[in-house]
Symmetry: C2
């Protein structure tokens, strides 16, 4: 077994604290990755505090994992010791259903195996995430990472990156597409970067005037203050695509109004309460609302390769593992541009 | 001016009663149609009772109009006296916006001109509908009807028909597509007929067991009783497309659960209250909700030609104009299979 140092949530209400555990031995199809950096996703906080229910403790959060391969099983083809590698939101799936066969493993009919806070498919091992020094994963669920990119800034691509890249591709965002991004956080800032890179005309939608300069620094071309009725009126029926990253409760009506003919709002955030949809706003302009969840393994690799080619990474703030509880506090105040990334050297 | 006999709503609370008025003279691009039959749409009842607000009285409802051309203006190309013709939900639009140019006049940027309960584009004439003996419409908004079909059963195609045909085409329903239809009324029964005709596997979704035999008579292959949790469980993630014709208040969650990977629910009914959408149900299986409103002039003609070729008409019950108030009462109890059609001979 592989000794692993980590930080874990022990209960919903206590701070994360040191935790030692063992990873499984490297099997013939497994890759052992020494974790160098791990992004801090808002869902880490939700799950460590049991805000979605059913949390398994002690829980090592983290599903934006990058590091260096230290060992590859005898049948592993894609990796060798020394390669850079990543692990995202899932570490397994049934592999045989129609969706897995299409490499849409995130929609596995049996349910994908999340990277933490779930049981692995052996039914007895608790999956533990990336706030740790080592991880062992079947190579099918491990991504190759180019040495061209700044590794620590690659980590958030594994969740925030693919979650926004995949829907932009799904709705065919391309040169000239009018794309709006609602919400400027970990997901929103990646949506802006990708949409700009695909040649779209990109507009940030926000209730906060201070986000205008931030969004434009990321490449956004326009800014609409959604608390200003006149600005909303001006952009009625304007956008082909809205990437809605807002995870707070909200009605979809304000955004739907802004969609052009055949316009599509892609929802990637899950507000605690169901959102209201007035059907008339969908019938107007034949609008759609589409849900999208991360991306499959093939598309995640494609996204990472695209990022290497176009020099796209996340904007991050590096923290030590010991600072995680403070970082959670700052995340709750949106006091991060735009993702915390843990430097696991702090645990060694 | 053209003397026209009609039935009109004079107030929101009184029964429809006889009304005489004049249609405009036939202009160079106009077609005068002697109305032979007019379908009774649920929206006629809503508007005559001012349930959507802003109703204009006296109001002659009716937007499922078929009849015979009695006069064609000098520049009219598509019609001559004696031809069968139809008029649907609109009689005009701006004609120059991007949507009109695509023959998606129902999404006209300035707003289409409805067939009744609105002002015509001259700003002074009240548009009056098909519960009348004559109508004069620019040929751009008049449809050709094949003599092959039973004319009285064609009338509902102008609204119920195109409202279901258009979205089935938009989401590419074809041989083998798993289509479910929610709600078996005027719209639902046409959705079943079209989907069956396109080669889809068609399932009726209903809370009422009595609808099973009815739906199968229309060609549906399967029936799911949506009040039965076990049946719902069995069809979770099953359908590629759901045509949701339900106009009563409801949460979309039950239907979303039934959609397969990339499955699409098309909403064609407008419940009085906004419907609730739990985002998680959209993220699962990358599901969509799409709104669709009637169809453009080009597609409406295509639909009518398709119906002539495939011998598709509505299932109707013919009434006299004098029976309209009783018919409204029966519509409110869903006591019609599936559309009332007024025989305007009763007014002459």
């Amino acid at each position: 077994m592989i000794e692993t140092k980590a930080y874990a949530a022990y209960t919903p209400t206590t701070p994360l604290a040191p935790f030692d555990f063992e990873r499984r031995e490297v099997g013939p199809h497994d890759v052992q990755v020494e974790i160098l950096y791990c992004g801090v996703c808002h869902s880490d906080l939700h799950q460590s505090r049991d805000e979605w229910g059913g949390s398994i403790y002690p829980m090592v959060p983290g599903h934006e994992i990058v590091g260096k391969v230290v060992k590859a099983g005898e049948h592993v083809k894609k990796f060798k010791a020394g390669d850079l590698a990543g692990v995202g939101v899932m570490v397994d799936s049934c592999r045989v259903c129609d969706h897995c066969r299409q490499s849409l493993e995130q929609y596995c009919v049996e349910g994908m195996t999340g990277t933490y806070n779930t049981m692995e498919r052996d039914g007895k091992t608790v999956a533990q995430g990336g706030y740790s020094t080592q991880i062992v994963v079947d190579e099918r669920y491990v991504l190759s990472i180019s040495p061209k990119l700044d590794l620590k800034a690659v980590a958030p691509l594994l969740c925030a990156g693919i979650t926004t890249y995949s829907p932009l591709r799904y709705v065919n965002v391309t040169k000239g597409t009018r794309v709006a991004v609602a919400g400027l956080g970990g997901l929103g800032h990646m949506a802006v970067k990708f949409a700009v890179s695909f040649g779209a005309e990109v507009t940030m939608l926000s209730t906060s005037p201070s986000k205008e300069a931030d969004a434009k620094k990321l490449g956004a071309h326009k800014f609409v203050l959604t608390s200003d009725k006149e600005q909303l009126k001006k952009y009625e029926g304007y956008f082909d695509v809205i990437i809605n990253t807002v995870a707070a409760n909200h009605s979809y009506e304000t955004y739907l109004n802004l969609l052009a003919l055949n316009g599509k709002m892609v929802v990637v955030g899950i507000p605690p309460k169901a959102s209201e949809v007035p059907a008339g706003k969908l019938l107007d302009n034949r609008r759609s609302i589409i849900g999208s969840m991360i991306g499959g393994m093939k598309e995640t690799q494609e996204m990472l390769d695209y990022c290497a080619e176009h020099n796209i990474v996340s904007d991050i703030e590096v923290i030590k593992m010991q600072d995680i509880n403070e970082a959670y506090g700052r995340m709750l105040k949106n006091d991060v541009k735009y993702r915390f990334v843990i430097d696991l050297a702090s645990l060694k």
